[in-house]
C-alpha cells in the first residue's frame, strides 16, 4: 500500500521534506541544541505554531474534505490540553509538596502528600477535596490516555446526537458553537473541578525534568510537535486518499447521492468528526505545555472560528493549505499583536497594529472568502500547473446542498 500511496500523493514527500529541513534549521539555530541565534521564547512560539498546524489539518479534514464546518474543534484542542495539564500540574505540584514536606522531622505519608497537592491546586478556588475528575491525574499512564479518550467520547456522543438528527450545514455549525460555549461556561465555574477561570498553570515544567533548562525543553517539545505534525499529516493524507476520501468528498458535495449509493453517511461523519477531534486533542496536549497555562478562555467559540479562518486563508481541501494557513496567520498574528509591526502615522491618527490587527484580519478574511476562495494553497496549485477544470457545479464544497437538498427544489 505504502508505495503507491506515497507515489499517488507526492505532496506528502514534499511536505515531510520541508518540515524536516525547517526543524533541522530551527534546532541548529536554537539555544538548547544549537548556536543560540533563536531565543527560547520564539522556539516555543514555533512549537506552538506546529501544534496549531496539526489542528488545522484536522479542521481541513472535517471542513475542507467532508464539508462539516465544525466550530468546536478548538474545544477538543483545549480539552486535550486540560487532560495533559491535569497530569503536569499534579505531578509538578507533587514534586514541590514532597520537597516541602521532606524538610520536616517526620517523613510524609502518601495521604499527606495527596492532601498537600490538593490544597496547593485547589486552595485558589476554595476547595479542599480532590474532585473526582482528578482521580487519574497522579499517574501519567492513567491520565494521558484520557487526552484521546475524553475528547473522543465527547465528539462521539455529540456527533451521534447531531448527525443522527440529520443536523446539517449552518445548523451544525451553530450547534457545535453552542457545544463549545457550553463547555467553556462549564469550565468557568469554580466547582467544575478544573479551577474555574484560573485554569491550570505551570505546565511548562516537566515533572522529573526540573534540572533541564527551558531552552532544552522547548526544543524537545518543538521536535515532538514537528514529529506529531508529520504523523498527523500522513494519517490525514492516508484517510483522504482512496475510496474513503472519495466518500468524504462525496458527503461534502452531495451527501444525499452518497446515501443512495448505500453509504451510511452518518457513520462516516461520526467517524471523521471523532477522528479529527482526537487529532485536535493531541495537538492541544502538546500545545499547552509549551504555552504553560490553560484556562477556559481558550475554549471561547471565537478560537474555533479563528481555526476556520486559518484553514480558509490557507486553502480548504488541501492539507498543505491548512498547514500554511495556520502557520502564516498565527505567526503574523503574533508579530502584529506582539507590537513588533511598525505603527503607521497618518498625521491625524496613528495606526497601532496591536489595535488594528484584528480589523485587518477580519477584513482580509472577508476578502479571501470573496476573491480567493482557494486561499494561499490555490497559489501553489497555479504554480504546480494543476489545471482547474472549467466546469459548472459545486465549486468549493457544500453550497446549498448542505442546507436545502436539491431534490426539494425541483
Amino acid at each position: 500500500m505504502s508505495r503507491s500511496f506515497i507515489a499517488r500523493n507526492p505532496s506528502i514527500l514534499w511536505f515531510l521534506a520541508s518540515l524536516a529541513v525547517f526543524t533541522l534549521v530551527i534546532t541548529v539555530l536554537s539555544e538548547g541544541f544549537g548556536i543560540g541565534l533563536i531565543p527560547t521564547a520564539f522556539v516555543k512560539t514555533l512549537g506552538k505554531t506546529l501544534c496549531l498546524c496539526l489542528v488545522a489539518v484536522a479542521m481541513d479534514l472535517i471542513w475542507g474534505y467532508t464539508g462539516i464546518l465544525s466550530l468546536g474543534h478548538m474545544a477538543f484542542f483545549a480539552v486535550g490540553g486540560y487532560m495533559t495539564g491535569m497530569w503536569l500540574m499534579y505531578a509538578r505540584t507533587e514534586e514541590i509538596v514532597v520537597q516541602a514536606l521532606a524538610s520536616g522531622p517526620i517523613p510524609a505519608t502518601p495521604e499527606e502528600v495527596a492532601q498537600g497537592v490538593t490544597t496547593q491546586i485547589f486552595g485558589v478556588v476554595g476547595g479542599s477535596d480532590l474532585p473526582a475528575i482528578w482521580s487519574f491525574a497522579h499517574s501519567a499512564w492513567l491520565q494521558l490516555p484520557l487526552v484521546l479518550i475524553v475528547p473522543g467520547l465527547l465528539a462521539l456522543v455529540f456527533g451521534w446526537l447531531a448527525f443522527r438528527a440529520r443536523v446539517n450545514g449552518v445548523y451544525l455549525s451553530i450547534l457545535t458553537q453552542a457545544m463549545t460555549l457550553a463547555l467553556a461556561l462549564y469550565l468557568f465555574q469554580n466547582d467544575s473541578g478544573l479551577r474555574g477561570n484560573n485554569g491550570l498553570s505551570g505546565l511548562q515544567n516537566l515533572p522529573g525534568l526540573g534540572h533541564v533548562s527551558q531552552a532544552t525543553t522547548s526544543i524537545l517539545f518543538f521536535l515532538a510537535s514537528a514529529m506529531l505534525l508529520a504523523l498527523g499529516y500522513v494519517l490525514a493524507a492516508f484517510v483522504i486518499s482512496g475510496k474513503f476520501g472519495s466518500a468524504l468528498r462525496g458527503i461534502r458535495d452531495d451527501e444525499q447521492r452518497l446515501r443512495f449509493l448505500g453509504y451510511p453517511v452518518e457513520g462516516y461523519k461520526l467517524f471523521i468528526f471523532t477522528l479529527t477531534a482526537m487529532i485536535a486533542a493531541i495537538a492541544g496536549a502538546f500545545y499547552y505545555p509549551q504555552a504553560g497555562i490553560i484556562n477556559p478562555a481558550e475554549l471561547a467559540p471565537i478560537a474555533s472560528i479563528y481555526l476556520a479562518v486559518w484553514v480558509a486563508i490557507g486553502g480548504r481541501g488541501r492539507l498543505y493549505g491548512a498547514v500554511i494557513g495556520a502557520a502564516f496567520v498565527s505567526l503574523l498574528s503574533s508579530w502584529f499583536t506582539g507590537g513588533m509591526a511598525p505603527s503607521i502615522p497618518l498625521g491625524f491618527y496613528t495606526i497601532h497594529w496591536v489595535d488594528w490587527w484584528t480589523v485587518l484580519l477580519g477584513l482580509s478574511f472577508v476578502a479571501v472568502t470573496l476573491f480567493a476562495p482557494k486561499g494561499i494553497g490555490g497559489l501553489f496549485d497555479r504554480l504546480a500547473h494543476i489545471a482547474t477544470p472549467a466546469r459548472h457545479g459545486a465549486a468549493l464544497g457544500p453550497n446549498d446542498g448542505a442546507l436545502q437538498e436539491k431534490e426539494a427544489q425541483e
Binding site: 464546518l69 495521604e111 451553530i174 468549493l396
Partner: protein, 641 residues
C-alpha cells in the same frame, strides 16, 4: 378624649402626690430623685414627665439621657447645658436661653446606664406621639430596626392616639411583631402570630423566622426543659465535634497533632522504637503513637471504637431558642402557610422574569430570524449590529443630555445606522456568497471581529453607560415578591410592538408579499417582476435595523461594551434554531422557551448562572434530536428536506 385621659390615668395609677401636671411642677417636686436617680425609683418620675405631654419634656429627657442636663445650684432649676468657654451655656427645657454659668455653679447630672435605658424607652414613646408625623415615622423605623421588649408598652400606648391612618396601620403591625416576640403572655403571642398567617410581606417573615431559630446540642439524655425542634441521628456530620465542644468526649487526634506529637518524641531516628522510615505510612504512625500512649508520654486519643461508642451513648438534637412550644408551633404553622403563598408568588415573579428575558431574546433574535429565515443567510455580525445600536444610543446621549429625548432620537437613529450598515454589507459581501451559507457565515464573522475591534478602538474597552430616563427607573412592585422593573416592561412592550409591526409588514404590505414570494421561490418571484436583489437588500437592512433598535433596548440595562453583541449572538441563534426557521412565531416560541428554560434552571440552582447556561445549551442539543427543524417547522417539500 382618650388622649387627654391617658396621662391622667397614668398619673393616678402611679399614685403621684397631688395632680402636678405641668413639667415645672414635676421637676420641682421630684428634684431630688432626678438629681440622684436610681433604676428602682425613677420610673414613675419619668412616666410623669412623659405624661405632661409638654414638648419641653422631650427636650429635657433627651438632654438627660445624653448627660447634658444640669442643675443650677442657686435655684434648683434644670437646664440643658453645653460647654461654653470655661463654663456652661444654659438653655431652659422650653428652649429659652438662660445665659452662661460657671462650672462650679451647675451640677452635671450623670444618670447610670439603667436609668438611661428607661429614659430612652420613654423617649421612643414620646416621639411616637410627636406632633410631626415624620418624627413618628422615624420612631417606628427605629423600632422596626432594633425591636426591644421595652418598646412594647410605649408603642401600644401610642396606637390609640394616632390620627394618621397609614401610621396607625404601621403601629398596629409593629405591635403585632413586638407582641409575638416579647409579650409575656403566651396566648397573646400566639394570637399575634396567627394574625400573620398567609402574610407574604418580607417583614412578617422576618419577624416570624427568629422564633424558629435553633441551636444544636449534644447531651447524654434528652432534656425536658428544652423546646426540641428535632432529634438528630448520631451519624450526622460534625456530631462528634459537638460532643467534644460540650466536653462530653475527648478530642479526636488530628493527623497534624499526631505528627507533631511524634516529632516531639523523636529520639535517635526512631519514635518509641518505631524507625523513622516506617513513619511514612499512616499505620506506622498509629503504631508509634500507640506505643507512646502506653508509655504515658502522650495523652490517649479517642480511637474509632471510642468515637462510635460515644456517638451511640449520646443524643443530638436541635432546640429552639424560643422556649415556648405553643409559640414555635404557631410560628411554624404560620410560616408554612406563608411559604405556600410565597411559592406561588415566586413562581409568578419567575414567570415575569422569564417573560422579560424572552422579550430580550426575541428582540435580539427577530432581526436574525428575518435574515436567516427569509434569506437563508447566517449573519454572524448580527451581534455587532446590536452593539452598534447600543453605541449609537450612547453617542446620542453624549450630544443630547435629556435622557427622554435622547432615547426618542436614538431609536430611529440606531435603526438608520444599522440599516445602512446592513445594506452595505449585503451589497458588498453577502450578495456574492448566496447559496454558499458556510462561507457567508465565515465572511460575516470576519466583519464581526473587525467591527468589534473598531468599536474597541473608538470607545475603549471599558463599559459605557446608556442611562434610561428617570421615568423608566424603579420597578413596578405588586408586593415584596412580585416586582418587575419598568425597563423590562418597556422592553416587553417593545418586543410586542415589533411582533405586531413585523406581522403587519409581512401580511399586509406589498413589501411583505414580495418578501414571502422571494422566500418561497426566488426564480418564480423574479419572473413575476419582483426584483429579488432589491428584496434581499431591504430584508437584510430591515433585519439589521431591528438589531440596532434591540441594541438600544439592551444597552439600557446592560453595560455597553464592544462585546455586547457576542454575549447575545449564540442565544439569538439558539432562539432561531429552536423556534424554527422562516417563521416569526417560531422566533417567538424559541425565545419564550429559551427564556423560560433559562430562568427555570436558575431557579433550581440560583447560585450558578453559568451552570444554567451550560444546561440550557445541553438541553437545546437534546431538543434538536426531537425537533430538528425547530418548534414551528415548515413541513414537507417546502422545508427543503
Amino acid at each position: 378624649m382618650f388622649r387627654l385621659l391617658l396621662p391622667l390615668a397614668v398619673a393616678l395609677c402611679l399614685g403621684l402626690p397631688g395632680f402636678a401636671q405641668t413639667l415645672p411642677e414635676i421637676l420641682s417636686l421630684e428634684r431630688a430623685k432626678i438629681e440622684k436617680p436610681s433604676r428602682q425609683t425613677i420610673g414613675p418620675v419619668i412616666d410623669a414627665i412623659t405624661a405632661t405631654g409638654d414638648p419641653a419634656a422631650a427636650a429635657l429627657l433627651r438632654a438627660w439621657g445624653d448627660r447634658h442636663l444640669g442643675l443650677r445650684k442657686s435655684d434648683g432649676a434644670f437646664f440643658v447645658i453645653a460647654p461654653e468657654g470655661a463654663g456652661w451655656a444654659l438653655t431652659a427645657p422650653d428652649g429659652t436661653s438662660a445665659g452662661l454659668a460657671a462650672k462650679a455653679d451647675v451640677t452635671e447630672l450623670k444618670p447610670n446606664a439603667g436609668v438611661r435605658e428607661l429614659i430612652a424607652a420613654a423617649l421612643v414613646q414620646f416621639t411616637l406621639s410627636d406632633p410631626d408625623p415624620a418624627n413618628r415615622a422615624r420612631a417606628l423605623d427605629a423600632i422596626a430596626k432594633s425591636p426591644a421588649a421595652s418598646q412594647l408598652e410605649p408603642l401600644r400606648a401610642a396606637i390609640a392616639g394616632e390620627t394618621d391612618p397609614a401610621l396607625k396601620t404601621r403601629k398596629e403591625r409593629l405591635d403585632t411583631f413586638l407582641t409575638l416576640q416579647f409579650d409575656p403572655d403566651s396566648a397573646a403571642r400566639i394570637a399575634a402570630i396567627q394574625r400573620l398567617e398567609g402574610d407574604t410581606a418580607l417583614d412578617a417573615r422576618g419577624a416570624l423566622n427568629p422564633l424558629l431559630l435553633t441551636t444544636r446540642h449534644a447531651a447524654t439524655a434528652l432534656p425536658s426543659d428544652e423546646n426540641i425542634a428535632a432529634i438528630l441521628p448520631a451519624d450526622l456530620p460534625g456530631a462528634y465535634d459537638l460532643l467534644v465542644t460540650a466536653g462530653l468526649a475527648p478530642a479526636r487526634l488530628t493527623p497534624k497533632d499526631q505528627k507533631d506529637a511524634l516529632a516531639a518524641h523523636l529520639r535517635d531516628g526512631a519514635v518509641a522504637g518505631v524507625p523513622l522510615a516506617d513513619l511514612a505510612t499512616q499505620s506506622g504512625r498509629d503504631k508509634a503513637y500507640e506505643a507512646l500512649e502506653q508509655s504515658g508520654a502522650v495523652p490517649p486519643a479517642a480511637t474509632d471504637a471510642e468515637v462510635a461508642a460515644a456517638l451511640k451513648s449520646h443524643v443530638f438534637y436541635d432546640a429552639y431558642r424560643e422556649k415556648d412550644k405553643g409559640v414555635t408551633d404557631a410560628a411554624r404553622a404560620a410560616l408554612a402557610s406563608i411559604d405556600t403563598k410565597v411559592g406561588l408568588m415566586t413562581a409568578t415573579d419567575l414567570g415575569l422574569d422569564a417573560l422579560s428575558l424572552a422579550s430580550i431574546y426575541f428582540l435580539a433574535a427577530i432581526g436574525l430570524a428575518i435574515t436567516f429565515g427569509v434569506m437563508r443567510v447566517i449573519n454572524m455580525a448580527h451581534g455587532e449590529f446590536i452593539m452598534m445600536g447600543a453605541y449609537t444610543g450612547y453617542v446620542v446621549q453624549q450630544l443630547i443630555p435629556n435622557y427622554t429625548i435622547s432615547i426618542v432620537v436614538a431609536l430611529p437613529l440606531a435603526f438608520a445606522v444599522t440599516f445602512a450598515a446592513g445594506v452595505a454589507m449585503e451589497r458588498l459581501v453577502i450578495r456574492h456568497l448566496y447559496k454558499r451559507p458556510l462561507e457567508t457565515l465565515l465572511a460575516t464573522f470576519g466583519i464581526s471581529i473587525a467591527l468589534q475591534q473598531i468599536a474597541k478602538n473608538i470607545f475603549g474597552t471599558q463599559a459605557r453607560p446608556l442611562t434610561a430616563p428617570a421615568w423608566l427607573d424603579g420597578q413596578l412592585a405588586f408586593n415584596d415578591i412580585i416586582a418587575i422593573s419598568y425597563i423590562r416592561i418597556a422592553i416587553f412592550v417593545l418586543a410586542l410592538a415589533f411582533l405586531a409591526f413585523f406581522l403587519w409588514l409581512m401580511k399586509r404590505t406589498r413589501l411583505g408579499l414580495e418578501v414571502r414570494a422571494v422566500t418561497q421561490n426566488p426564480t418564480m418571484a423574479a419572473s413575476m417582476g419582483i426584483d429579488p436583489d432589491r428584496i434581499n437588500m431591504l430584508t437584510f437592512g430591515l433585519g439589521s435595523g431591528i438589531a440596532g433598535i434591540a441594541g438600544v433596548a439592551i444597552g439600557l440595562f446592560a453595560k455597553v461594551t464592544s462585546e455586547l453583541g457576542s454575549d447575545y449572538i449564540v442565544q439569538s441563534f439558539m432562539t432561531v434554531v429552536v423556534g424554527g426557521v422562516g417563521n416569526i412565531w417560531g422566533a417567538l416560541a424559541g425565545a419564550a422557551m429559551i427564556g423560560g428554560f433559562q430562568k427555570g434552571i436558575e431557579w433550581l440552582n440560583p447560585a450558578n448562572t453559568l451552570a444554567a447556561q451550560t444546561y440550557m445549551i445541553l438541553f437545546i442539543i437534546l431538543f434538536i434530536q426531537f425537533r430538528p427543524r425547530g418548534i414551528i417547522a415548515l413541513k414537507g417539500r417546502a422545508a427543503g428536506d
